[in-house]
């Protein structure tokens, strides 16, 4: 959790606006550090977090979060964190075995036109499932959904429209229905003024998500060029 960012955004683990969709985007840079920030932020705020970690393994997120002062393994054991490890699940779809029980959330890998319905069902079941709790289980705060990152879905062949539908459904569920928060990361490749129409997909996705979100944190390189010490700038 970065305290400077918290003061700029006027939030803190004790008080933050609910029902917000925060979009983190980057252009030729890497904004995943903001995802780590929000992950540790919401875990400290004692929210129930559902994290779709599609880009990296659980160990990576765990190691970084440990340095930021939160333990993902502990949060998972206590039931505060539901972690979906995309890398692990994808192997059961890409290399199917007979007796392998797959969760079905990564079905789109087998057949991209199917869309992200099963992934949405997973998110929904992890959020709604928390409603029915046993006696003695800890009460957590509002639900939070974190996604790292949506551009991986585009790389795996999912249609832009399907991803936009997915984010819309999640927003309706998490932000409107459950008054929770949602943070999603999307990455772009090319310069904004480039006429190259190869990257239309992620540009359309970015614009669509900017339209849907409440707050957009955009990370990009310095306009003056490459600098080793300052990696880039964040604007919202």
């Amino acid at each position: 959790m970065f305290t400077e960012l918290n003061s700029i955004l006027n939030t803190s683990p004790d008080s933050f606006t609910q029902g917000e969709f925060i979009l983190v985007s980057d252009r030729q840079s890497d904004a995943s550090f903001l995802i780590h920030h929000f992950l540790s932020f919401y875990l400290r705020a004692r929210c129930k977090v559902c994290f779709l970690g599609l880009a990296q393994s659980f160990c990576h997120y765990g190691a970084v979060s440990q340095r930021l002062g939160v333990s993902l393994t502990q949060a998972k054991e206590k039931g505060q964190l539901v972690f979906f490890e995309g890398l692990k699940e994808c192997l059961s779809v890409l290399l199917p075995k007979e007796n392998n029980a797959e969760s079905g959330a990564m079905n789109f890998l087998r057949d991209p036109p199917v869309g992200l319905r099963s992934l949405y069902e997973f998110v929904r079941s992890s959020m709604i499932g928390s409603g029915s709790m046993e006696e003695g289980a800890e009460q957590w705060g509002p639900n939070v959904l974190l996604v790292d990152d949506l551009s991986v879905l585009l790389s795996l062949g999912v249609d832009v429209g399907a991803v936009l539908d997915f984010s819309h459904y999640c927003r309706a569920l998490v932000c409107s229905q459950m008054q929770g928060n949602m943070v999603m990361l999307v990455r772009c490749n090319k310069e904004e003024d480039d006429d190259d129409d190869g990257d239309e997909g992620s540009e359309v996705l970015l614009k669509g998500l900017i339209h849907q979100c409440n707050l957009n944190l955009h990370v990009q390189g310095l306009p003056t060029g490459y600098c080793k010490d300052i990696h880039g700038q964040v604007c919202d």
């Binding site: 333990s71 290399l95 790389s155 795996l156 090319k190 190869g198 990257d199």
Partner: protein
């Protein structure tokens, strides 16, 4: 990170010392030291050498186990193939296992072209010596009286078995001797053996990538590189070399069309490859003919799905070959991406203008630095020019520091 660790962050793996500093020596008790690897000074990750010491330096000390290095090939695939061979040769010298997959040449051809290592104490593996009889006279002769603590250490260390040096040098003018090469176990995947051309042409998806992924997973499971398998006495690293992925010979039309039909086949494969590598003790080097791919956004996606990425541009055949400014070098090297695994931000390289040179015993990567010497009123000393020509010229001089 001077503040002491928060109690929230304590897990069973943490061993807080009495003085409660946040400095934790990362002793992963489960990892037995594997020859040819060393932990990174930055984040404690296990690193292997790529075989090229200057490339190791660029990548932050070496290639992290569980990651992929993408090499964007130069136009004639000469230097990228060379780096792949260095990588495999390093694996042979460190006694790692190799997995080589190609669609064009037979993997055995690449293996026969591996450069010869320059070892100070070259030891060709001899057959195991007969165990000496443990008779009394033997013990009394060998018993140490002063340095008795060293009694039980092995007397002679065979060179290749404990090649504790990280990164070796190779002589490219010679090929590796067959004896050294055969000491390392190698798994080959030659695409024509696995896929019949007729079946590939009619399928809706690119079958070659799934076959490759399956074969790699089988090797990982069978040979015990999986992290999930219980730790046995000795673990080893699997070095995966994938040659010219994405080319038409793999059944992919990425390099042929502007709007490829299976534009997501390669990216899906790379995602699966990342999944396999993260869950095993392996490291991969993938070469890709990126100069054939028209879609830059697709290259961006491919680069993001690999952890390390460099691009080579050789001067061969271009006008730069005869340019006196580049006379010391064979080409330019671009670092497209460095990973930031287990940490927030990546270690960016100091300089972005890098050039490489392949010498007989070393593949060096140096930075190009341009210095403007200034305006000069200079008499042209060109013998072809008659008379004196006074001209104003800018002089650019590149200096390697």
């Amino acid at each position: 990170m001077a503040a002491p660790m928060n109690s929230v962050g304590k897990t069973s793996a943490d061993r807080l010392q009495a003085n409660c500093t946040s400095f934790q020596k990362k002793t992963r008790s489960k990892l037995i030291s594997i020859p040819g690897t060393r932990p990174s000074v930055q984040n404690g990750q296990l690193l292997v050498s790529t075989g090229v010491t200057s490339l190791d330096y660029l990548l932050g000390g070496g290639l992290a186990v569980g990651t992929v290095l993408l090499i964007e090939e130069d136009r004639f695939d000469s230097y990228s193939r060379m780096i792949l061979k260095y990588f495999l040769a390093e694996g042979v010298v460190c006694r790692h296992e190799l997995f080589v997959a190609t669609a064009q040449d037979n993997p055995d051809e690449i293996l026969q072209e591996l450069p010869a290592p320059i070892l100070d104490d070259v030891a060709v593996p001899k057959p195991v010596e007969q165990p000496r009889p443990t008779g009394e006279p033997q013990d009394s002769l060998d018993a140490m009286t002063i340095a008795w603590r060293y009694q039980n250490l092995p007397k002679v260390q065979s060179a290749l078995a404990s090649s504790s040096r990280f990164g070796h040098y190779y002589d490219v003018s010679k090929t590796m001797e067959a004896e050294i090469r055969q000491a390392a176990k190698c798994h080959c995947f030659y695409l024509p053996d696995h896929i019949t051309p007729s079946s590939a042409a009619h399928s809706a998806r690119v079958e070659s990538y799934s076959a490759l992924l399956k074969s790699l997973q089988e090797v990982i499971h069978r040979e015990g590189f999986d992290l999930a398998t219980p730790m046995s006495k000795s673990r080893n690293i699997l070095r995966v070399g994938l040659h010219s992925l994405g080319s038409a010979l793999w059944g992919d039309d990425l390099c042929c069309h502007d709007k490829p039909r299976h534009s997501h086949a390669l990216t899906t494969f790379l995602y699966g490859l990342r999944a396999l590598l993260r869950s095993s003790l392996s490291v991969a080097v993938v070469t890709l003919p990126s100069h054939l791919i028209q879609d830059r956004a697709l290259m961006g996606n491919i680069t993001r799905l690999c952890d390390n990425a460099i691009a080579l541009e050789s001067f061969k055949g271009s006008e730069r070959e005869t340019n006196p400014l580049y006379k010391d070098y064979h080409g330019l090297l671009f670092v497209r991406q460095v990973p930031h695994l287990n940490c927030l931000a990546r270690q960016l390289p100091d300089h972005k203008d890098l050039a490489f040179k392949l010498k007989r015993k070393q593949f060096t990567i140096e930075k190009l630095q341009w210095i403007i010497l200034g305006f000069q009123q200079k008499v042209m000393q060109n013998s072809q020019v008659e008379g004196k020509n006074i001209c104003v010229s800018f002089s650019f001089y590149h200096q390697n520091l």
